[in-house]
């Protein structure tokens, strides 16, 4: 029997992996992907609670999260391209200077 706990556990595992990736990755693209993982983990929780409690509101919220995640990815990648154009690298350790 799959209970709401199973879904929350799955979301927690995904969130932890995402948090680890976001904090440890050197490449900015990987950081952005890890953030997407964390947003997805949050979404699983929203949908699971919505499904088990019988209210649709959580699913509406989750669809907003998806829209915002897409906007975040678009702007994030645009910033990465600018970074790459000026630094010739997307390694975040290289982007530690305040001026050049």
């Amino acid at each position: 029997m799959v209970t709401v706990y199973h879904y929350v556990f799955l979301a927690a595992v995904l969130f932890t992996i995402g948090a680890y990736g976001m904090l440890s990755a050197r490449n900015a693209v990987r950081v952005l992907m890890s953030i997407e993982l964390m947003l997805n983990a949050a979404n699983i929780n929203l949908v699971a609670f919505s499904s088990y409690s019988g209210t649709v509101a959580g699913q509406g919220l989750a669809s907003f999260v998806i829209a915002i995640a897409a906007a975040e990815a678009g702007v994030g990648i645009a910033i990465l391209l600018v970074l790459y154009r000026s630094m010739r690298s997307v390694n975040l350790r290289d982007a530690a200077v305040m001026r050049w």
């Binding site: 440890s24 997407e36 649709v56 645009a78």
Partner: protein, 165 residues
Amino acid sequence: MIQDAVFLVISLCAVAGAAGVVFAQRLFHAVLSLALCLLSVAAIYITLGAEFLAVIQVLVYAGGVVVLFLFAVMLTKSDLQLKREPLDTFAPVSAVLFGVLVLFYIARTGFVAHGERGAAPGDVASVGQVIFSPTKYALPFELVGILLLAAMVGAIYLARRDERW
């Protein structure tokens, strides 16, 4: 019984994909495992009866965001700067500690489930009624629209190549 097995297989796919995002040596492989993870999450939504969200997940994430990331990997030549990233000793330890802490608190929290799985309808019509109803999410919906417009303008402004307008 079968439903348990299905859930287990899907979750394993999702976790494997997530692990691939963080640990894959080549960034292109990392993006492909992100696609695997996002599709598994869409399957998770289907097991919860949220078919609208599952379709939106595939449409926006697998069709849009993943392709954007593939573009980013190609344009920034990230795969060609293959240096093994030095591993912090503290990062994995703190991640495991964080995970254990979260799981511990989840186990201690008593979630009261009012209904069975799939108690809420997840079809397009019912989600649409929630999103567009003026008493619920109509205002946030409009705000998300403005946010997306702003993001689009910002992304185009940032990514443009020439300085003249």
